[in-house]
């Protein structure tokens, strides 16, 4: 191993870089796992599926810093002595950046794999991505084995998000300053992708970008589907998961409709492999459109999803709705939110436990 390749892992360690895909797994540790794993061929997958609505950081990198991200990928290929790297990219992005990507990968051990249209949100999960590339049904694999030891074609595989590779590129260039890309959107003026210090709180981010609303609002952090919902008194926290801050005006978003939108998304995007996610999300939807909403069962399903789901999508399916009910619906004064008294009473009873 050359001095430089040995050096890079120490540099990543020193930078405390964690995966930018949402799970925040320590990057150096993952790289070392793949390095140590036995296998004739090793692979690198750069995940640019960006299926989480409300996040556009990958788009931003593709547009502005593709070179740095490619440098990160090449570093990984060299460090792992990998066979090749595969850019796993969603269709819309590919269409947009096809020319640029093809130019930049020319002569390199990098290939592009265009994600199928209907593979959907779950297609972004790492083992689903591997399945998709292998030509299997797009759904997560049972773990263990984990991709670092047994990934694509049963070979050790490093799967990182595009932003992670971008950050590695910055580390190589000695330009990494512990920043991460945060997408801001929703009911505010200055939407877009910003680079902020990892430690910065949601409140600071909103104020710094002059997006802090004057109206009653709440936010969703870490994606518009799986992100946690916080009220305006809970903003003293870091941006976690897939980094985004979405501002919602309380007035503009009718509670049951909003909840249904979240649930609809997961019904549509569940792969159907496991019972709680396939059936649970469907039943949440059923309850939300029914006249007599059974909030007890609704709450049971929300608890069950993260407890027993097969993969992260199922676990994440309840985050938005649960946190919205707990942090917004039940805490806002009665005048501000329009839901029938009976429902509010039931919700209070069920969710205050």
């Amino acid at each position: 191993m050359s001095y430089e390749t040995r050096n890079i892992i120490n540099k990543i360690k020193k930078a405390n870089l964690t995966g930018r895909g949402g799970a925040s797994f320590p990057t150096a540790l993952k790289w070392e796992m793949v390095k140590k794993a036995r296998g004739k061929n090793k692979y690198v997958i750069c995940n640019v599926s960006e299926g989480e609505p409300g996040i556009q950081k990958d788009y931003y990198i593709l547009q502005n810093y593709l070179d740095t991200a490619i440098l990160g990928m090449e570093t990984a290929i060299e460090y792992l002595k990998a066979e090749k790297a595969i850019i796993y990219i969603n269709k819309a992005y590919f269409k947009k950046f096809e020319k640029k990507l093809n130019e930049v990968i020319r002569g390199r051990k990098i290939e592009i794999f265009e994600k199928e249209h209907d593979s959907g949100y779950i297609g972004g999960e790492e083992t689903s991505a591997i399945n998709s590339i292998e030509g299997c049904r797009v759904e997560p694999r049972l773990r263990p084995p984990f991709p670092p030891t047994c990934g694509i074609f049963n070979s050790p595989t490093l799967v990182n998000n595009l932003e992670t590779f971008y950050d590695v590129g910055l580390i190589v260039k000695n330009k990494y300053h512990n920043k991460r890309l945060v997408t801001i959107n929703g009911d505010c003026l200055w939407t877009g992708v910003y680079a902020f210090d990892e430690e910065m709180t949601v409140e600071d981010i909103l104020r710094k970008t002059e997006n802090y609303p004057k109206f009653t609002f709440f936010v969703q952090i870490g994606g518009d589907a799986a992100g946690v919902v916080l009220n305006s008194n809970q903003l003293d926290c870091k941006v976690c998961g897939g980094a985004s801050v979405t501002v919602y005006s309380v007035l503009k978003h009718e509670p049951f409709r909003l909840m249904k939108e979240w649930v609809d998304f997961f019904v549509k995007n569940s792969c159907g492999q496991c019972t709680p996610c396939r059936e649970g999300t469907l039943r949440l939807q059923e309850i939300l459109i029914s006249k007599d909403k059974n909030w007890t069962i609704f709450s049971d399903i929300l608890t069950n999803l993260p407890e027993t789901s097969f993969c992260g999508l199922g676990s994440a399916a309840s985050i938005a709705v649960t946190s919205y009910i707990k942090n917004v619906l039940l805490l806002l004064p009665s005048g501000k939110i329009k839901i029938p008294e009976a429902d509010k009473k039931m919700l209070k009873e069920v969710f205050s436990l």
């Binding site: 299926g51 609505p53 959907g120 299997c136 084995p145 027993t308």
Partner: protein, 607 residues
């Protein structure tokens, strides 16, 4: 805000629809430590010792705790998709599936906490809403896991509305069906069809709650009706196309003489459905059961297997001596015949023209026996009790007709038979023993081992050996002794190969146990002289119509029982079955046409 930001996501609609691949990924690398170590875990507060290659479910089972589950089957690597077997492990954020999680030293596991109960029961509720209860006519209802769980865990089962009412039932010929209204999406049938049998006929269509098990649209794939999907289905969504109702009607019809004949492998499996230990031989109980159900006569297919053996051995010797097409391949497994006709029509001339034992039975009952009993064969109804779903198709083949009649009228699977008895409150182990009727009730050891992989081969070799030695010993010189045991062809291994010597003729033989293994034999066919193929793993004892569960361990016990039975028999070789020889003589006297139509068949390419 979801709509607002939809531009970025891969979920954006529009554009060309790409077909989702039908096959789910299945890991082929076993997730087990190569050198398992002894370790200690705490299970519900009690310290137990187990091995690190055991899953939580296996370790718990060994210590008397049965964790419920649907999607797991010992024949397959865990899938972990039903989420019923969840347990609480100290230090873990979520609940873990006991079927797929290996034990670790120091692990503290709880299988019945309130948290576990709540999660498991809700998932059970979900599954109930996928499965439309058709209990009234379901042959599985006395052993239904769903119903037993509902009772055990006090599941309301009506928490949610059934959502699969409009799902289709896919029927495969007249033998097997998959009822979408009962499917709980566990995917065991797909594992059976793809991983085990390598037929790849069943696929998953659609995504999320729309996913559905469907037959493939690929015209190059064909269902061989082996029924392994049915024997691996936990909720009877994949099942045989039942005939028990028609059979009951025939029994109640005064003008008909209803004759039952039961397969060799049934006797070592039927007891399981009534709580008898695995591998218990229950021949005389089941004969009694058949009589209780109202069958007028009961014959043993093992007897007809002796006839099959003799004809098959004659054909083998004939092929060798007359230098005809070799190798000869057995054809009594109807799943295998379906496979050969569709996937490898070029080897059809290699298949023996000998009919299978049950078809021999039907033919002999409706000719020889009918004449002897002075019964119009049109008034005889022959019902076979078989370990098999493909046998339902075999009896309906046009080429199997004798004098324009179908030899066997109905086939019941082992499961249908035990259901019929349970429905009538017949408790098999309590029945007074009864023997099958003469003359087609006694059989040789060779006839009974037909029920296991290698059995047809061994029986035919025993008989061929006798025949050849008989010829040889007419000449002066070394006395030729026939051999009885051919242990090299026994067992559950996928491919068994051996070189045997029968009366000086050296034969290279191969036995395939499970159609998934047949590929390499077919591509090296010229290497062999005689090949036996059984479509189901272990042969008929692991058949698609056998009691559920059928696992490797259970197949082993059933097979052992067959060989024990063989060893206990006074006559071991089919040629020693005098009644069988008599019937063959009778047939030969009647002329070649009848003899041929009772004993032989032909095959055709299926498009």
């Amino acid at each position: 805000m979801l709509k607002y930001m939809s531009a970025g996501g891969g979920f954006a609609s529009g554009g060309k629809k790409v077909k989702i691949n039908p096959k789910p990924y299945r890991c082929t690398i076993p997730n087990k430590p190569k050198q398992p170590k002894r370790c200690k875990i705490k299970l519900n507060g009690k310290v137990i010792t187990c091995m690190t290659d055991q899953t939580i479910m296996q370790a718990a089972y060994k210590h008397g705790i049965q964790i419920p589950g649907f999607c797991g089957h010992p024949d397959f690597i865990p899938k972990g998709n039903c989420r019923i077997c969840v347990v609480e492990v100290t230090g873990k954020r979520c609940l873990l599936t006991a079927c797929s999680t290996l034990v670790e030293n120091g692990m503290e596991i709880f299988t019945e906490t309130e948290r576990v109960q709540k999660a498991r029961n809700l998932n059970l509720d979900f599954i109930f809403a996928e499965h439309i209860e058709k209990c009234a006519s379901c042959i599985w209802r006395f052993q239904c896991k769903l119903l037993s769980f509902a009772e055990k865990y006090k599941i309301l089962i009506t928490t949610f509305n059934d959502r699969k009412g409009k799902r289709k039932t896919y029927k495969f010929a007249n033998a097997v069906e998959i009822d979408g209204t009962q499917c709980i999406d566990c995917r065991n049938c797909i594992d059976a069809c793809s991983l085990m049998q390598k037929i790849d006929y069943l696929e998953l269509k659609g995504k999320g709650s729309n996913q559905e098990v469907v037959p493939t649209e690929d015209k190059k794939r064909h269902c061989i009706l082996c029924g392994q999907c049915a024997v691996h289905c936990p909720v009877s969504a994949a099942q045989e196309q039942a005939s028990w109702q028609e059979v009951e009607k025939e029994i109640n019809n005064e003008t008909k003489v209803v004759v039952a004949q039961f397969a060799p492998s049934i006797r070592v499996s039927i007891g399981e459905d009534f709580g008898m230990p695995y591998g218990q031989v229950a021949t005389e109980h089941l004969v009694s059961g058949l009589r209780q159900l109202g069958f007028d006569y009961v014959f043993d297919v093992s007897f007809f297997a002796d006839i099959t053996t003799i004809i098959e051995a004659e054909e083998l010797i004939g092929r060798i001596q007359n230098k005809k097409i070799m190798p000869m391949i057995t054809s009594c497994c109807p799943g295998w015949v379906n496979y050969a006709e569709f996937y490898h029509p070029e080897i059809l001339p290699n298949l023996t023209s000998v009919r299978s034992p049950q078809i021999h039975g039907g033919g002999i009952i409706k000719t020889y026996w009918a004449e002897k009993m002075k019964i119009d064969p049109k008034n005889i109804v022959v019902v076979s009790i078989m370990p098999c779903t493909a046998k339902k198709y075999e009896i309906a083949r046009k080429e199997m007709k004798i004098n324009g009649m179908q030899g066997v009228d109905y086939v019941l699977t082992t499961r249908e038979f035990s259901f019929m008895m349970k429905r009538r409150n017949i408790i098999l182990p309590n029945l007074k023993k009864s023997k099958a009727d003469n003359p087609m009730g006694e059989y040789s050891g060779g006839g009974v081992i037909f029920g296991g992989s290698g059995g047809v081969m061994e029986s035919a070799l025993r008989t061929a050996n006798v025949m050849i030695c008989k010829e040889r010993n007419k000449r002066p010189g070394k006395i030729c002794r026939s051999r009885i045991d051919f242990k090299e062809v026994r067992g559950l291994t996928g491919i068994k190969e051996a070189k045997v010597d029968i009366g000086g003729i050296k034969l290279s033989i191969a036995v395939v146990s499970g159609i998934g293994y047949v590929g390499s034999i077919i591509s090296n066919l010229q290497k062999y002289d005689y090949v036996e193929v059984m479509a189901c793993p272990g042969g008929c004892i692991g058949g698609g119509g056998q009691p559920i569960p059928t696992t490797e361990e259970i197949r082993k016990k059933r097979m052992e029982a067959l060989y024990k039975l063989d060893k206990s028999k006074k006559i071991r070789k089919s040629t020693d079955n005098k009644q069988a020889l008599e019937i063959l003589d009778w047939l030969r006297e009647k002329g070649e046409k009848l003899e041929h139509s009772v004993l032989h068949t032909k095959y055709k390419r299926v498009k």
